[in-house]
Symmetry: C2
Subunit: 350 residues, 2 copies
């Protein structure tokens, strides 16, 4: 064989948001799998579970009782990784042992009182209400001068470390700018300085022209598999308008975002006819940290499943020690997701 | 509380090898765990399994038959992620879609003919023989001018994506320098330029003085939990002599390395009285890429278990989107590992 082909030859691709390369091995899906099979969590939860610390009226670890809420419910994580009361300090021994204090607030958001739902099974108004809460929380957390970054995210599914199946997400707000955000800031800043346009605006234009990795778009958002995706069915939701954070979404954009999340997560569930596990979260400009005109709001979805509801991609050995690696191509994943229906398979079966 | 304390306050620590920070939340182990419990693989494998493609005499995917080998056995991976026959090429559209071809060779090393062993259950001469094979393979792969980096590693256990329990490791050799190695090169180079001493030599000296994170040492190697460890019981084996790669280890050093691996992996198995899963691998200087006097050979162990044989640390949501995070402190982990016996619990039980 003599000509280079992204569909069949091993190659590396540049993640323009981080400056890091990923290794793509398109031919490798032929490998038989005799390794670990994941359990599929049973899908027969009740609408209310008296032992769930997120259900309305139940009590939590700190003794508080949840209100009898009707839509979303937000509270401070009883076991947060970050705490507000942390003394200011830093340590540096010969540039070899270096540490800093870190202040923060961790919150939990129950998406709905119904224990047995997930985002793809919620209605558009219900998901829109969640988007509203994200926006409100973002703005009110940002009022704390010492907070520099606010990470909004969701771990869905047991294999993504989610310890309670009640539909919920988290917000971690902290006094420093975390690693992934620092990388994306640098790259977006560098691009913006040269082109006077956000990196993701330019990228979106090119992807919309090519139509190779687009899954769908609506009035305000594009959903695609990035050229540099690492996880098998990794996707990104990007706003068409260049805004730096969720704070600036207007009413129409909030509904559009909810719709994009709904369609994408339904397609995900339909892919292997299973409640599709993922970690998802927004990347946006730091707060209380000067202007960040280069920042372009987007949301990443990192789902681990590779071949079926029970076979995931392992990011282990080579990937941890050397370089992230994927088997199927981003274009193959995009095509698969594009072709899937936007009606949930469970609704179909009814 | 007013004084800052690494044992109880959330903080960040600098990984001096990569320049990246990790978040430590020492107080967070109090969190109850209601999430996923891992399966423990049954520990009753036969010494020979007729269906195993690594056992002596058996046939492999490409139709080849394994020889009737007595120590280690090396062959080219029948489903390698990298291939030698890859056309040279690169793609760049507006700095937005950027890709390069990648050439490579992937090999598999069976550590022993015995299907039912693992490194901690092998004898010192048997492990020394594996070290010899690693050294030989490294040197002979480096004879290919186009190879720039050689990653030697092992995935142990089903939850680390290992698809065959027969004790084995892998070597991926490739035409570019992968991400993690590029980061460690930069940092070691910068330190060496200023101090005329390798970064890890200086770090070892400080750690040996402090004795807070040392697990044990022998004549030629130190085994410790790095100050910036991410995984709960992450460790590093560092050579006392500053050598750039495994190529330079003499006979005594090879036995010492085997002994360090043996002791460390026995302690690992003893920690939760289970066959302890991990990904482990050496980091060393690139090859065919000029002099790299700054590089200091070391070996990382990244094990996922956190609380028991069935509860692991999930690097998900916040960790994927923002920043790696750990719960127990590196000092706590080091103390635990230091105090464990170096006799395997299964040998004890006999
Ligand atoms: O090559 P194996 O053992 O089939 O596969 C395993 O190790 C590889 C290298 O770390 C990973 O890319 C795979 O995801 C993992 O399942
Ligand atoms: O906060 P949770 O849901 O208990 O915990 C989960 O999400 C966190 C944030 O991604 C991770 O640090 C934990 O490892 C994971 O189990």
């Amino acid at each position: 064989q003599e000509t280079f082909d992204l569909d069949s030859n091993p190659h590396t691709r540049l993640n323009i948001l981080t400056g890091e390369w990923i290794l793509v091995s398109p031919h490798r899906t032929k490998r038989p799998w005799q390794g670990k099979l994941e359990d599929v969590s049973p899908d027969n939860r009740p609408a209310y579970d008296e032992k769930c610390y997120l259900c309305p009226g139940n009590s939590r670890a700190d003794g508080d009782h949840n209100p009898d809420y009707k839509a979303s419910f937000v509270f401070k994580n009883d076991f947060g990784a970050l705490l507000e009361e942390t003394p200011l300090a830093s340590i540096n021994e010969d540039d070899l042992l270096v540490a800093n204090n870190q202040k923060g607030i961790c919150k939990v958001i129950s998406f709905t009182p119904k224990h047995n739902l997930t985002l793809p099974e919620m209605t558009l108004p219900e998901i829109t209400a969640v988007v509203e809460v994200w926006q409100k929380e973002f703005s009110s957390l940002a009022e704390n001068e010492w907070i520099k970054y606010i990470q909004i995210f969701e771990n869905k599914g047991e294999i993504m470390g989610c310890s309670n199946p009640h539909p919920h997400g988290q917000i971690w707000a902290q006094s420093d700018i975390p690693l992934e955000i620092a990388k994306e800031s640098d790259r977006q800043k560098a691009y913006y300085a040269v082109h006077k346009e956000s990196l993701l605006s330019a990228y979106l234009k090119l992807e919309l022209k090519k139509q190779e990795r687009i899954i769908f778009e609506n009035d305000h958002f594009v959903v695609l598999v990035p050229f540099w995706a690492v996880w098998p069915y990794e996707t990104m939701i990007v706003s068409k308008r260049h805004v730096t954070s969720i704070k600036y979404f207007n009413a129409a954009e909030k509904v559009s975002l909810a719709e994009a999340i709904q369609k994408l997560t339904i397609k995900y569930d339909n892919l292997f006819e299973t409640s599709f596990p993922y970690s998802a979260g927004m990347h946006q400009a730091p707060v209380n940290n000067g202007d960040n005109p280069e920042w372009h709001w987007h949301m990443h979805f990192y789902p681990p499943l590779l071949r079926s509801a029970t076979v995931k991609k392992f990011m282990v050995g080579y990937e941890m020690l050397a370089n992230p690696q994927r088997d199927i191509t981003p274009e193959f994943a995009a095509k698969k997701l594009r072709e899937l229906p936007v009606v949930h398979y469970k609704a179909e079966q009814k």
